[in-house]
């Protein structure tokens, strides 16, 4: 990946489009618009079906087509899903894990990125490359030994036992992105701070971090969603039902109540709601985060 910039000054998702004019080319535009609209409807249908099903009673689900409106909407499925799926317990687990992992991981990554971007030492490029490599290797490559490590440490089924590997596997991407961002902060700032007798710590805390607000915010949001959604490692490291996170609970619910279609879909909807809310509130960070990973500044 090339060096990165987090550009929040030009959020793509929120820029205004100009109004229609009256030139003949507008007919092409209208045709394009209609085909996009049709695609969007198709794209939305899976979600719509899930919502319909979650609102239907068992006889309705079995007796009517999946695309028929829920004529007697009923929240019973949601109540049942909350209870059977132990939603508050797993929701709390997921929230605690994400709220510890994300800030700690980000702080560790930021410190490492600062050292790589701002302190010149031999072979720093190779170190950066080795770290970046970690962002590209599938976790399944390490999953079985990871189980042994956590098991030997007696940390299976604990929050900390999953938070630590999450931090390890989250570091490479965040360090890489922040490295790119820090590199773009002018070096003259360092020198003038140094004139004033600032240490590296003060440079890090009082100059580099405050200037990196947008990048840190974008990474925070993206990492929160990624942590909330993580399945592969949690599957191996969290085996007792009390310690489950949301994705494990979705899969567990599915296999335990195979044919309770209403509650299954209600459970899925409730499990994705927090992430959807985060997305809708902080949409621009998703774009700038995506930007950050990709664009040469």
């Amino acid at each position: 990946m090339t060096s990165a910039s987090v550009d929040t000054s030009r959020p793509i998702l929120t820029r205004r489009a100009p109004r229609f004019g009256s030139r003949p080319r507008d007919y092409i535009r209208i045709g394009l618009w209609i085909s996009l609209f049709v695609s969007l409807v198709i794209w939305t249908l899976p979600l719509v079906f899930i919502i319909f099903t979650s609102l239907k009673s068992e006889p309705d689900i079995v007796g009517s087509p999946v695309f028929s409106l829920p004529l007697h909407p009923d929240l019973g499925n949601f109540a049942q899903a909350i209870q059977d799926g132990n939603l508050f317990q797993v929701g709390t687990n997921s929230l605690v894990i994400a709220l510890v992992k994300v800030p700690v991981g980000l702080a560790i990554s930021a410190a490492a990125a600062f050292a790589l971007a701002r302190i010149r030492f031999r072979r720093s490029r190779i170190l950066l490359g080795v770290i970046a490599l970690g962002a590209m290797v599938p976790i399944q490559v390490a999953i079985a030994p990871l189980f042994q490590i956590i098991n030997n440490a007696g940390l299976l089924n604990t929050h900390i036992g999953v938070i630590l590997p999450y931090i390890g596997f989250g570091l490479p991407y965040q360090t890489f992105i922040l490295y790119g961002f820090f590199r773009q902060i002018p070096a003259e700032l360092d020198e003038s701070a140094r004139m004033d007798g600032a240490s590296y710590w003060r440079l890090f805390w009082q100059i580099v971090l405050p200037l990196s607000g947008p990048a840190l915010a974008a990474l925070f949001i993206l990492d929160f969603v990624a942590t909330w959604n993580e399945y592969g490692m949690a599957l191996v490291l969290l085996q007792s039902q009390d310690s489950w996170t949301i994705p494990l609970a979705i899969q567990g619910f599915q296999s335990q109540y195979t044919s309770s279609y209403g509650p299954i879909n209600a459970f899925t909807i409730m499990s994705v709601l927090p992430v959807l809310i985060v997305y809708l509130l902080f949409q621009r960070y998703f774009v700038s985060g995506a930007f950050a990973g990709a664009v040469k500044g």
């Binding site: 490492a112 790589l116 490599l133 079985a144 490590i149």
Partner: protein, 309 residues
């Protein structure tokens, strides 16, 4: 690790350039420890265990068998080759279908259109959902009795449609799972392409039009070349994302029917932690690691060179 360099006094170099690794260490230490303990060490251990036979239970002996595990997965394990083929199909399809759709969407939504922000947001939504949640949604959509195919078949009197076993038929199950992946991944790539399209210079587009280029020629000769850096990024990200496909398969088929949707990441996991064949499981993991490195290391070197320019 290297020793701190004390370069001979170079008056024009700033203080930052003269300091060394020891000064960087306090900032690097937590990251290096976490990375080594939880990423590099388990990976190295995977490679080591691939040369041993072991059940994975603490206290049972690890027996060194050399390349025996590799010989077994390559010559005596038909599931490995199914998983290998499916992973290959998955990667190739991922690089063609979702990427094309996302590029088309990005180009369309880069134009001034009524409500395009809503379009962009809505197409992106599946990308923020947990793969396992997406898997469960599509499992319901593919339900052989009450899903979309069955419902449409009944509504229009098309028994062949209601009879399709989307996830139960060995020949189509993998592709049914792949449809869910398309649905999930198009939005993310679209946003990346949209970001890339901001690099296309308005002046170049105008100049091409003045020279009499038609819409396709403009796209082919101006837009696509300007998009090339982003296309490389999206391609590599898609490769990384698709070679480790795991959640969707676990959630929709678990590798079945008859192992026909098995993929390398899942088969490695099942051999190690399900069948207690740590040696075989880690041999598969090592194959996965090597394949990934073959693609990713040249890419990293290439980007490092680009950055030096």
């Amino acid at each position: 690790m290297s020793v701190p360099t004390r370069a001979p006094a170079a008056p024009r170099r700033s203080w930052v350039l003269r300091s060394g690794f020891l000064r960087a260490l306090p900032f690097l230490a937590p990251a290096i420890v976490a990375y080594v303990v939880f990423v590099l060490a388990p990976m190295a251990e995977s490679v080591r265990l691939s040369f041993f036979e072991w059940t994975g239970f603490v206290g049972t002996p690890q027996v060194f068998v050399g390349f025996e595990n590799y010989v077994r997965i390559f010559t005596q394990d038909p599931v490995f080759w199914t998983a290998f083929r499916n992973t290959l199909i998955w990667v190739v399809l991922s690089l063609v279908i979702p990427l094309t759709i996302s590029l088309l969407l990005a180009v369309a939504l880069n134009r001034p259109l009524f409500g395009r922000n809503v379009f962009r947001s809505m197409f992106y939504i599946p990308g923020v959902l947990a793969s396992i949640a997406v898997a469960n949604m599509w499992r319901w959509i593919y339900n052989p009795n009450y899903g979309i195919g069955a419902s449409l078949g009944k509504a229009f009197g098309l028994p062949w449609l209601s009879d399709i076993q989307w996830l139960g038929n060995q020949d189509i199950a993998l592709y049914s799972v792949f449809v869910a992946f398309i649905w999930q991944s198009v939005g993310t790539n679209m946003v990346l392409f949209l970001a890339g399209l901001q690099a296309v210079q308005k002046e170049h587009l105008e100049a091409a039009k003045i020279d009499g280029a038609n819409a396709w020629q403009v796209f082919r000769n101006v837009t696509l070349p300007a998009l090339r850096p982003m296309t490389v990024v999206v391609t590599v990200l898609t490769f990384i994302g698709s070679i480790k496909v795991f959640d969707l398969v676990v959630g929709m088929t678990g590798g079945g029917p008859a192992q026909q949707t098995q993929v390398l990441a899942l088969w490695s996991y099942q051999q190690s932690l399900g069948n207690h064949q740590y040696g075989m499981g880690n041999a598969i993991a090592t194959v996965l690691l090597i394949v990934t490195l073959i693609i990713v290391v040249p890419y990293l070197i290439w980007t490092a060179r680009q950055e030096d320019k």
